[in-house]
């Protein structure tokens, strides 16, 4: 084998195993990606259509209310001037409303009143089938179908066979959006030789074919049995996506009862406390480390390799190692969060030191400051903006990491709640968990920004 005109020795090829990916796997990878482009485009197009409609409504009813005020309103060049772009609050609200609308629509939510996609068939239905026997005689039987909603289990309705011929009446129950098989043996094939279904509701059908009835579709299998598939509707099953009101009611229940014996907010509290502790540890060691790297040749040289190596390693990649070393207890998770925050804070503090205007340092020395005074009175306050930026990033990373760590191993925590619920297909709890994680992550960011404005008002004005 040659690569860039160099012959690669066979021993190397033996030592390094790399199976050429099969063409069909690569092909399916590419086609999946292409289909995703189509799918994402389609979803995005629907969302943008909604956006366009909202924009029209805004244009019609919101005349001038969102106009820029003061100096900005006098600018004639706004396209390209980022400072003149202000978020349209109506658009923000409308986009969230749109999300909830699609959610409610897709799940057949009662919140939307009359606006509903076709729902799956529920209730009782009946159809007739016509069968022939070996002698060519025909007879008609009745099948009553009960389609029951998910979560209920009605008694099997035993239909009395009132038919005197060889085609027997029967009854069957089907869960919504599922199918059920009515064996031909239960409607006469057992007793009748040459039993074959030829018509359903008067429509001719042969084995392998199907007939639509009001409640859905009836298939005749190759073996002559009946498969009943009630109309599945166009909404999603709550196993995949529960409706907003279901999520809300299970949120209320979760608040009251908790899940697997742990209260909802107890779970959130455990996740938060881990983040706070891990982040605090990361700051405690990372900031002095960053200062040392920014102030001393020796420490710069000593810590540079490890910091530069650890920085691109995502904390999630460390989870297996952390579990092997520390087990699944609190120490492991806090260690992981410590490592997640440490490098970010180190680099932020180092950047803070390097960002000190040399004039400030010279000025401080000329004014008689000692090295120690320079560090505490000049370098530390001057690097606060950088440190705060680092802290915001670190908090975000820690919050993401804690959830992932709990997915792998934890007894309490928001991530743990999600993964436990997913194992029992409690999608509503999974969704509640996701929403809470998102809201708290957002709240952390807002809080940090508020603190930043409060503590370092000179940021960006120097």
């Amino acid at each position: 084998m040659t690569f860039l005109n160099t012959t690669i020795p066979a021993s190397f090829m033996e030592a390094v195993r790399f199976n050429t990916p099969p063409a069909d796997e690569v092909g399916s990878l590419i086609s999946t990606t292409l289909w995703m482009i189509v799918g994402i485009f389609f979803i995005f197009a629907i969302y943008m259509l909604f956006s366009a409609a909202s924009w029209l409504i805004d244009k019609l009813f919101n005349k001038g209310r969102d106009k820029a005020k003061g100096y900005t309103s006098l600018k004639t060049v706004t396209f390209g001037d980022e400072s003149a772009v202000v978020a349209n609050r109506f658009a923000s609200v409308a986009s969230v409303v749109a999300l909830f609308f699609f959610w409610a629509l897709a799940t057949g939510s009662s919140l939307l009143g009359p606006i509903q996609l076709p729902a799956p068939f529920l209730g009782e239905a009946e159809f007739e089938y016509t069968a022939t026997n070996a002698t060519g005689a025909t007879d008609t039987g009745k099948v009553s179908v009960l389609v029951y909603p998910f979560g209920e289990s009605p008694d099997q309705a035993k239909a009395d066979n009132t038919n005197s011929g060889f085609a027997m009446d029967n009854a069957i129950k089907v869960r919504e959006r599922r199918t059920a098989l009515l064996s031909s043996r239960t409607i006469g094939a057992k007793e009748t030789e040459g039993f074959a279904i030829t018509q359903i509701n008067g429509e001719n059908v042969s084995p392998g074919g199907s007939v639509d009835i009001d409640a859905g579709t009836v298939f005749v299998t190759e073996k002559g049995s009946l498969q009943i598939r009630p109309y599945p509707g166009m909404t999603m099953e709550s196993l995949y996506l529960p409706s907003p009101e279901e999520v809300w009611s299970s949120f209320i229940r979760l608040n009251k009862e908790g899940y697997t014996g742990v209260g909802l907010w107890e779970n959130v509290f455990w996740s938060l406390i881990r983040v706070v502790l891990g982040f605090a540890l990361g700051c405690l060691f990372g900031i002095p480390l960053g200062f040392a790297m920014g102030l001393s040749n020796w420490f710069r040289g000593w810590f540079d390799p490890i910091v530069e190596f650890m920085r691109p390693v995502p904390p999630l990649a460390l989870i297996p190692l952390i579990i092997i070393w520390f087990g699944i207890g609190e120490q492991g998770k806090i260690s992981l969060l410590f490592l997640a925050a440490l490098w970010i804070m180190t680099i932020a503090a180092r950047a803070g030191v390097s960002g000190v205007n040399i004039s400030k340092v010279h000025a401080a020395y000329s004014l008689g400051a000692t090295k120690r005074q320079l560090l505490t009175k000049v370098i530390l306050p001057n690097s606060l903006p950088e440190i705060f930026t680092g802290a915001r990033v670190a908090m975000g990373v820690c919050w993401g990491t804690v959830v992932a760590a709990e997915l792998v191993a934890a007894e309490k925590g928001a991530g743990k709640m999600i993964i436990a619920a997913s194992k029992f297909q409690l999608t509503d709890i999974v969704i509640i968990g996701i929403i809470i994680i998102g809201v708290i992550g957002f709240a952390i960011e807002v809080l940090m920004r508020k603190m930043e404005n409060r503590l370092i008002p000179w940021k960006g004005k120097g």
Binding site: N357, S359, K360, H362, A363, A364, Y365, S366, L367, G368, A369, T370, Q373, K377, V378, P381, N382, L384, I456, P457, W458, K461, G462
Partner: protein, 266 residues
């Protein structure tokens, strides 16, 4: 020996490509206590390097510097410095900035407060004691920088183009202020500038430097600083010698620049 003495001060930088630059060569200068000296020269003549050596931020590769009989080896509060901009502490208000030097030395707070009040009066910022630095204009910031430097009561004040970033009107006001402070406090002031007019106005003694290697080209003793104290600087500029000296120096610097360009071209 009192005053600031430079003996054969030289500065040679090694370049990464193996060459070297003679930023300063054999500078000999004696500055008496209370003298107002302005240093002028084309870019690259080493005037900022000289100031950094005087401040103690750079060690010269040759020669030595003495202030009042002892050697200058590093930064010290006996030599205060006023920078062009960006040297104030944004996380402190005006009073704290001005009081920084005394505070570092452990002066009692009551004494600092008194000193700060006095200096705020001198630089005309009585009403801005509690303002933050980022709330002030460039000219006001330089007033704070001046006051901060004076708070330490230094023997020498080094000014590195302190008015360079200000607009023409503010600059003129600040020039008057520098003259006032010089007269009131009797400090030795060394001011670097690239404006010929400013050098003429703010120097009883004007030193013109030349580049490659950085050296003292010519010295002037001028009456304008003394005339300008408490007077209208525009009046001073109308003085008959002012215009002629200005043109002479401008021609001198113009020739130096031409020479540099010629060398680059060849």
């Amino acid at each position: 020996m009192s005053g600031l003495n430079m003996n054969d001060v030289s500065m040679t930088f090694e370049l990464p490509n193996g060459g070297s630059v003679e930023a300063l060569k054999n500078i000999n200068l004696n500055i008496k206590k209370g003298e107002l000296v302005s240093v002028l020269g084309p870019s690259g003549c080493g005037k900022t390097t000289l100031l950094n050596i005087l401040a103690g931020f750079l060690a010269p590769t040759g020669g030595d510097i003495e202030l009042n009989g002892h050697a200058v080896t590093g930064p010290d509060s006996e030599r205060g410095m006023v920078f062009q901009q960006g040297a104030l502490f944004e996380w402190m208000n005006v009073s704290k900035n001005i009081g920084f030097g005394p505070k570092m030395k452990g002066t009692p707070q009551a004494e600092i407060d008194e000193k700060v009040k006095e200096l705020l009066d001198i630089v005309g910022l009585q009403d801005f004691a509690e303002k933050m630095i980022y709330e002030m204009s460039g000219g006001m910031q330089q007033r704070v920088a001046l006051a901060r430097c004076l708070a330490n009561d230094p023997d020498v004040i080094l000014m590195d183009e302190p008015l360079g970033a200000l607009d023409a009107l503010t600059r003129e006001k600040m020039q008057s202020l520098v003259l006032d402070i010089w007269k009131k406090t009797g400090k030795t002031i060394i001011l670097i500038t690239h404006s010929v007019e400013e050098a003429l106005l703010l120097g009883e003694r004007l030193i013109v430097m030349a580049p490659r290697p950085g050296r003292i080209h010519k010295e002037y003793q001028l009456p304008f600083a003394e005339l300008g104290v408490g007077a209208d600087l525009r009046e001073v500029k109308r003085h008959e010698d002012f215009g002629s000296t200005r043109d002479e120096i401008l021609n001198m610097i113009w020739d130096m620049e031409e020479e540099i360009m010629g060398r680059v071209d060849s």
